[in-house]
């Protein structure tokens, strides 16, 4: 949409929302949130940007095709799922946890990576879908 006001705000909101989405992702294990909602929020940030500034602008910001986030996310999730099979010989999806607490994140473990994978996939698919649709209108 050709609106100065929307353009400006969307540029402000983009980093804000992306930051927020990471926040939601990281805290999911303790409080409502997680990779899925986080991913949605991040996607929404870019979608908003695209609404305001046009698709091409947003793509410039993204640099890579959002579709690529899908296999990357899947790979992260899959690796974190099969990591226990390789590392400790335990079944798929067994949680691996780093013993000590890490500031901000709390306990860090394979579940977190898994959630991050989910995050990327969700961002990737939402953007792919929405961008594709707006391009082919």
């Amino acid at each position: 949409m050709n609106s100065l006001i929307l353009n400006t705000i969307s540029k402000t909101l983009l980093p804000l929302l992306v930051l927020f989405s990471v926040f939601v992702l990281l805290r999911g294990h303790y409080l409502p949130g997680g990779g899925f909602v986080g991913g949605l929020i991040a996607a929404i940030a870019f979608i908003l940007h695209a609404f305001a500034n046009g698709l091409n602008e947003t793509k410039k910001i993204l640099r890579i095709h959002p579709g690529f986030l899908i296999p990357i996310g899947l790979l992260i999730a899959t690796l974190s799922a099969i990591a226990p099979m390789i590392i400790t010989g335990e079944p798929l999806m067994t949680g691996l946890w780093y013993e000590k607490d890490i500031p901000i994140l709390g306990k860090i473990g394979s579940a977190l990576f898994f959630d991050a994978g989910v995050y990327f996939v969700v961002v990737g698919i939402c953007l792919t879908i929405i961008f594709t649709i707006s391009e082919s209108v």
């Binding site: 899908i70 899959t78 079944p91 798929l92 999806m93």
Partner: protein, 508 residues
């Protein structure tokens, strides 16, 4: 390594799919990755099979949460046999896709989705969790939607709309059933459910829920009167995709039906009767549908339905012998139906059409191909000793021992009508004079194919025909496997013990 083998068939295809997505723009590499992935799939499936065969039912507790707290993956003989066959079909389709699918399709993720679909099928076969089964079903559905529609012509889109709506509906029905099961039992673990369900006091409710599952799976497996999406869509996509669908998709519905109605809701008299009637009608309507069609892919589509009746009928008899027959039939059907659709694809390349009217002269112009094609066609009919014959023996036996002459007669009807239809196809396609067409379609006909292209079309058929022949002449192997499956399915404690890690005193 070997203790995780159960999950490998899924991992292999998942990783293959991811790799394929990463090599998004490179169709050439994709072709190799896919074929290698499928071969690894067969190897892994084979290893898992031998493990199950020697050590009994295998299970993996995902996340290392003991059942029923996590998701349990269970590879029993039934599941693992299906996985092996699925991977074989996958290899065949993977090979034909190298040529049947144009590069632009590959750039839109054809192969990746194809492997997701195989992953979905494998997952559905080995999951031991009811909700997980739903999720696997969704993988299957969505990937089949995509395969059905990408690059879609009008008819394909139209077919997809129907396919989509009815399958979506069936998923909703299935999910409704799952919700109700959870509401009644508080559990989703299939092995645990097999113990809880009989204890439920309100068995009327349980029965109703079982029927919801039946309708949900019925749509997927294409039984009367729920099959409508199938003939509307299966003939529309390219041959490779149709072959995959024909061989495997409806079978998942049947698989689920067999699994659920042996493990969770063992068939009672009423359900047996319902299934039997449904089987009879499925045979009848599938058969007559196939009889009146004039397009080879459509005929095969209806024959899929018709032959679903064998499996549902077998299940409805609910004896070990009948289950053996149903399962045997399923194995045969997976291979042969896939082959037939691949053949349909070759015919399309030869004649530029899949309509019977446009065909002819195959036997005179391509005698060796004709011979090759004849094998699956007559195997479908059940011409002994080809594969379709063997399951019928068990099915006939079971119909007799259960005194269900109705079913026996329906089985005969199905066989006869298949025979007539195949003979009709033979006459129009192989025997009759080729139709003289003034204007030929502007596309590359089979005769213009390079050797590599021809090989890509024919090698998969040879592979599958090889399996058919193996099945035909070493039917004993399949029979023994199926008998073990029958035992495992009808005596659920084996499954239960495997899931809950209880050592069995006697092996099967």
């Amino acid at each position: 390594m070997s203790e995780h083998l159960t999950i490998y068939p899924i991992i292999v295809h998942l990783l293959t799919a991811i790799l394929l997505l990463l090599s998004w723009m490179n169709p050439k590499v994709q072709r190799y990755i896919s074929i290698i992935g499928s071969i690894v799939g067969i190897i892994v499936g084979g290893l898992l099979f031998s493990q199950v065969w020697t050590e009994g039912i295998q299970s993996v507790q995902l996340g290392n949460w003991k059942a029923p707290f996590g998701i349990t993956m269970v590879a029993d003989t039934f599941a693992v046999t299906l996985i092996v066959l699925t991977n074989i079909v996958a290899l065949a389709v993977s090979i034909i896709s190298t040529r049947n699918m144009v590069s632009s399709r590959l750039k839109f993720g054809y192969y990746a989705i194809f492997h997701f679909l195989i992953m979905g099928l494998s997952g559905a076969f080995i999951t031991g969790d009811l909700f997980s089964l739903y999720v696997w079903f969704e993988v299957i559905i969505i990937s089949s939607f995509v395969l059905l529609t990408i690059g879609g012509r009008n008819i394909q889109i139209e077919g997809a709309v129907k396919y989509f709506t009815l399958n979506m509906l069936s998923s909703i029905i299935f999910l409704t059933g799952i919700a109700m099961v959870y509401g009644v039992t508080g559990s989703l673990n299939m092995a645990e459910l097999s113990r809880i369900i009989p204890e439920i006091e309100n068995q009327g409710l349980v029965h109703t829920i079982s029927l919801i599952f039946f309708i949900g799976f019925g749509v997927k497996s294409g039984v009367f009167p729920l099959y409508f999406w199938l003939p509307a869509s299966y003939h529309t996509p390219p041959a490779a995709v149709s072959a995959l669908f024909a061989g495997l998709l409806t079978k998942v519905g049947i698989y689920a039906m067999i699994r659920v109605f042996t493990l969770i809701f063992p068939l009672g008299e009423i359900n047996q009767m319902i299934l039997m009637v449904v089987a009879g009608f499925t045979i009848f309507f599938g058969g007559i549908g196939a009889l009146v069609q004039k397009d080879i892919q459509r005929i095969f589509s209806y024959l899929i339905i018709c032959h679903i009746g064998f499996m549902v009928g077998g299940l409805s008899l609910f004896t070990e012998v009948a289950i053996v027959g149903a399962v045997m039939y399923m194995f045969h059907d997976i291979i042969v139906k896939a082959t037939l659709f691949l053949i349909g694809g070759v015919m399309y390349r030869i004649f530029g059409s899949t309509r019977l009217y446009d065909m002819g002269g195959l036997m005179d112009n391509y005698p060796r191909l004709s011979f090759l094609f004849a094998i699956p066609m007559f195997a479908l009919v059940g011409v002994p000793p080809l594969s379709g014959f063997w399951p019928k023996v068990s099915l006939f036996m079971a119909s007799y021992t259960q005194g269900e002459m109705f079913l026996l007669i329906m089985f005969i009807f199905a066989s006869l009508i298949t025979l007539v239809i195949i003979a009709k196809i033979w006459n129009s396609t192989f025997s009759k004079k080729p139709v003289e067409r003034e204007k030929r379609k502007a596309f590359k006909y089979f005769e213009k194919f390079s050797f590599a292209e021809k090989a890509a079309y024919i090698v998969p058929i040879i592979i599958l025909v090889g399996v058919t022949l193996y099945y035909s002449f070493f039917a004993e192997h399949f029979q023994v496997i199926s008998e073990r499956i029958g035992k495992e399915l009808m005596n659920t404690e084996h499954y239960y013990n495997a899931v809950f890690g209880i050592k069995e005193e006697t092996k099967l």
